[in-house]
């Protein structure tokens, strides 16, 4: 289920769940895409992230500077995914190791990457130690892999020192000082139980140390604005594209100065983007951005449903997103796509013709899902299954594609119980669209939700659902011509909104930086958005824009 911040709408009370203040309705009616309110959900009503509203805004001359403004970054702990992928590389494993025993990352707004809410607790440390112990022990008993990772026989002279030097550099994403190497080797030789345990000891230290667990970016000076060191830049690039620590080769290139130039960095980025590991890491981005990692089996009976559909639904969206993100296509076309990838069972559930052997199917033009792209994927519709579907889906669409946060003002939330006593479901929807303190925001979400209301909680189309009883005409209020008569029309109108590109940019920024952009990051988001639009909305170009912005080389600490 979705765990977006605007939880109000998902909780049913169906209600005046998004009952908003006059201030909210004013902001919404004037121009919902531009707000200086920041991303805070505290004040109530919709707000855009200030850095997300680049659509249509004039280029900022100050962004031409080599050292544009950037916001400060919270020191990031390796995410569970980054930790897992990095361990795979360090131990040269065929597949990422299990994360069992390690606490899961805390989720916020559907994302697991917000640095500010991730911690290193005693439970984490226990898990890190156990994992280092487990993987170290497996390594030392696997002679072939041991030789590759250690680079020498454990009993050979100076093998431990060489191992600590090489393995430590990969773990810490920088060369260890002679003192660091010597201290660890001395300690391991003194305190380990036996010869092999010296390596085990070193592995436990290196993989539990803060230099490994935190992505420290210091640059030349610990306070204020600073340029990243060469190895820090290599690490930032590798984590941004692959979600894992840099390879020895990339560290070599960085330390030789290859990434110092724009071209050098761009070439390195291009190599990473062309590798399947980029697609693997960004599959996590799409699942978190679109919220379909959270889809669960429906809790009530749904015609035609069986639990085998669950992975099939997610696989459909994975495949479609992959096509449009990495297949040389215009990514925005994923919103109006008429071709998808389904299993036979999912095709039956949707009422599609049988798919080709590779799972592709072209949706007949007469089908309700024709030309609706991602919007009618069961994985997306079903991920928001517990709540007032009208408000919920309208809010979800605004939050996901327009980056607008909605919030019930506390003063109104406290009255909900009294306001809604005795009203029926239909009356509630009508009431919230007529009451002064409510209609400002419900006017921008309910018409969208009504247009999607004939898809049930599992994402199955049910033509028996009567949407006329609410007395609300389906519309996308942000579009120049808001009314729509089909989801395909909604998809088309949504795709045409410039705010979609701006929103996608802020979400990609979040995935790369572990925080949402602020107004100080406008140069970065503008550069990425421009790169995206200049290259026919190609997703890799959006990433190129983020990676090539001057700010990528900078960090601010304060």
């Amino acid at each position: 289920m979705s765990s977006r911040r605007s939880l109000s709408v998902r909780c049913s009370f169906g209600a005046l769940l998004i009952v908003l203040s006059a201030g909210c309705s004013s902001a919404t009616q004037s121009n919902p895409s531009v707000s200086s309110g920041g991303g805070s959900a505290q004040a109530g009503g919709p707000s855009n992230n200030p850095a997300s509203a680049g659509s249509g805004s004039a280029p900022d001359a100050t962004c031409d500077s080599a050292t544009p403004d950037v916001s400060s970054n919270a020191l990031r702990r390796l995410s569970a995914l980054e930790y897992q992928l990095t361990l795979q590389d360090l131990f040269q494993l065929a597949a990422p190791p299990s994360l069992e025993g390690l606490p899961a990352d805390t989720e916020k707004d559907g994302f697991k990457v917000f640095a500010e809410v991730q911690t290193v607790s005693a439970s984490h440390l226990r898990g890190y130690l156990s994992k280092a112990q487990e993987l170290g022990a497996a390594l030392l008993t696997d002679s072939a892999r041991r030789k590759q990772v250690l680079g020498c026989e454990p009993t050979a002279a100076d093998c431990l020192k060489g191992f600590v030097t090489r393995f430590g550099r990969l773990a810490y994403r920088r060369a260890l000082s002679t003192e660091e190497v010597d201290a660890l080797v001395t300690r391991a030789e003194r305190d380990a139980i036996d010869t092999n345990d010296r390596f085990q000891f070193a592995i436990e230290v290196l993989l539990t140390a803060p230099d490994f667990l935190y992505r420290a970016e210091v640059g030349a000076t610990p306070e204020g604005l600073s340029k990243l060191s060469r190895s820090e830049l290599a690490a930032k690039l590798s984590f941004a594209v692959w979600g894992r620590a840099p390879s020895a080769e990339l560290l070599d290139q960085a330390e030789q100065g290859t990434l110092d130039t724009e071209k050098g960095l761009a070439d390195a980025a291009e190599r990473l983007l062309a590798d399947p590991r980029a697609q693997g890491f960004y599959s996590g981005f799409f699942r978190q951005w679109l919220g379909y990692d959270a889809v669960r089996a429906p809790t009530s009976t749904v015609k035609g449903w069986n639990d085998a559909l669950l992975p099939a639904l997610q696989a459909e969206t994975d495949a479609v997103v992959k096509d449009f993100a990495w297949g040389g296509l215009n990514f925005l076309d994923a919103l109006t796509a008429n071709r998808t990838h389904v299993s036979k069972e999912l095709a039956t559930f949707y009422g599609f013709p049988a798919p080709a052997a590779d799972g592709t199917v072209t949706i007949p033009s007469s089908h309700v899902r024709a030309n609706t792209g991602l919007l009618t994927h069961g994985s997306l519709l079903g991920a928001k299954s517990d709540g007032d579907l009208i408000a919920l889906r309208g809010d979800w669409l605004r939050e996901t594609f327009l980056c607008q946060h909605m919030q019930v003002p506390a003063s109104v939330a406290d009255q909900l119980g009294e306001l809604l006593v005795g009203l029926t479901r239909v009356q509630i929807v009508k009431e919230r669209n007529s009451r002064g303190e409510c209609k400002g925001c419900h006017a921008v979400i309910d018409p969208i939700g009504v247009g999607l209301a004939q898809f049930d909680r599992a994402g199955r189309y049910d033509e028996t659902i009567d949407i006329t009883e609410y007395g609300i005409a389906p519309a996308l209020p942000d579009a120049p011509n808001p009314p729509f008569s089909s989801v395909a029309e909604l998809a088309s109108k949504l795709r045409a909104l410039p705010q979609v590109s701006a929103c996608l940019t802020t979400r990609a920024f979040l995935y790369v930086n572990g925080r949402e952009p602020t107004s100080s990051d406008r140069c970065t988001t503008q550069a990425a958005e421009q790169s995206f639009s200049a290259q026919a909305s190609s997703f890799p170009s959006l990433l190129r824009g983020l990676l090539s912005a001057p700010s990528f080389r900078l960090r601010r600490s304060e």
Partner: protein
């Protein structure tokens, strides 16, 4: 690094407890270190509130005869699936009625605010001050290995839905969501041989590993700016907590063997039961003194697998959330659609009573489990304060007034077997009362602030 709880810190006779329906077997001697002054706090969270009209008992003594519809099973209950029958517990419970949580939780369905007495500052779902369990953990932990345990049967890691325990500055407390994981942390290794000839060498080695990472912390810290230093300070704090867990300095002349490992997986109910059983063992062994247990997030838990209610009143597979909304909400049990209005209302009300009773039975199971562990001066329940809480008061309207609050146990001489009317008193007042009960000063507490409730 093998992290074991030294056998000497644990009690004899706990072995195999997990396989038994209750913890009667634990009528065992206590660690000598535990004195009559030991105090414990447990918070038991179950979502979606209740129907306050049918929950709140009138002020005064609770008796078997005057228990309200929702609290009826405090008078004892029969076996039910994985849950064994239990004796009456009303005499160990004090109901606190009328608490107003709306000033703290300014949005609906925010489990994250359930144990907070302070309204959010950065947002409305992150407690800006330590939650009640954390406030107490800081002060009650003494030399126990685990400062506190945060347990949850929900897989949701969403900050607002899957977390009820927060340290200072909104720091999410790490939650254990898998009973097997909790077992491994607390008890795995207890069966290891104590005749390991390398035991002392291994202890020194493991200490050296942690010393080495502390040295790395010092080196890194010296390179960082102030803001980053504040982030890595948490690391050092966590190392200290881990060292305490490993060293486990609780003196004891007795020992206990590990219980059987719980099974993995399961639904909210089986996980919660395993958590209750393990947390009681952890308390019995004095591994910790503060625990929170979140039974579910707001949306997940349902009653499939149980036969509760009959005919139209049967709960079926509807989620607790849907049932809590009764009629007219999109999230409702739609099988009541089309019925005569009065009849539908009667059934919807009856279902909420049935789920509330279920919730109370699970709370009572915890109380009985604590009561079944004898201590030198009484039982575990005698030295505990156990709090039942939720994120909403009236589950149907989302109102955060009239919160369902039960306080059980006798820590600090707490008097039970009664109902205390606290109409419109804020959560800060409730927490101030609890904090004072534990012997700490809280003339006024929370934001909005409240003073201790008279007679509580």
């Amino acid at each position: 690094m093998a992290i074991c709880i030294p056998r000497r810190t644990l009690l004899r006779g706990v072995g195999a407890c997990m396989a038994l329906p209750l913890l009667e077997i634990m009528s065992t001697e206590r660690a000598q270190a535990q004195s009559a002054s030991v105090q414990r706090f447990i918070a038991f969270f179950y979502p979606n509130g209740t129907d306050p009209r049918k929950w709140n008992p009138a002020a005064g003594a609770l008796t078997a005869a005057n228990l309200t519809e929702c609290l009826k099973d405090l008078g004892g209950y029969a076996a039910e699936g994985i849950w064994p029958a239990g004796e009456a517990t009303f005499q160990d419970v004090t109901a606190v009625t009328g608490i107003d949580h709306s000033g703290v939780s300014t949005d609906i369905h925010q489990p994250s605010m359930a144990l907070s007495a302070h309204k959010g500052v950065a947002n409305n779902y992150t407690p800006p001050q330590p939650t009640l369990d954390q406030y107490l953990a800081e002060r009650l932990q003494a030399s126990t290995p685990y400062r506190n345990l945060a347990l949850a049967a929900t897989p949701s890691t969403d900050i607002g839905q899957g977390n009820i325990s927060f340290r200072a500055s909104g720091q999410v407390e790490t939650v254990t969501r898998n009973p097997k994981q909790l077992f491994d942390t607390l008890f795995k290794g207890m069966t290891a041989s104590t005749t390991d000839p390398n035991a002392e060498k291994r202890r020194k080695r493991n200490t050296s590993v942690l010393d080495a990472v502390k040295e790395d912390h010092a080196r890194l810290n010296a390179r960082l700016g102030r803001a980053d230093q504040m982030r890595v300070a948490q690391y050092l704090q966590s190392i200290a907590e881990l060292e305490k867990q490993i060293a486990s300095p609780t003196p004891s002349t007795t020992s206990c063997s590990a219980p059987a490992a719980p099974t993995t997986g399961g639904d909210w109910h089986s996980k919660s039961k395993q958590f209750v059983d393990l947390l009681v063992l952890a308390m019995a062994c004095d591994l910790t003194r503060v625990v929170t247990l979140q039974y579910s997030d707001s949306w997940g838990v349902n009653y499939s697998g149980y036969t509760i209610g009959s005919g139209k009143e049967a709960l079926g597979t509807w989620s607790d959330h849907f049932i809590s909304h009764k009629l007219d909400d999109n999230d409702r049990a739609t099988d009541l659609d089309g019925l005569d209005r009065a009849e539908a209302q009667r059934i919807a009300d009856a279902r909420v009573v049935a789920t509330s009773r279920f919730k109370v039975r699970r709370f009572a199971y915890l109380l009985n489990a604590l009561k079944n562990v004898k201590t030198p001066t009484g039982t575990l329940l005698d030295e505990s304060l156990v709090m039942y809480c939720s994120e909403n008061g009236d589950g149907d309207s989302h109102a955060r007034k009239n919160m369902p609050v039960l306080l059980a146990g006798h820590a600090g001489g707490f008097k039970t077997g009664r109902s205390v009317a606290a109409a419109n008193q804020v959560t800060g007042a409730l927490h101030a009362s609890i904090i004072q009960r534990f012997g700490f000063e809280a003339a006024s507490y929370g934001a909005p602030a409240g003073k201790p409730i008279a007679d509580l």
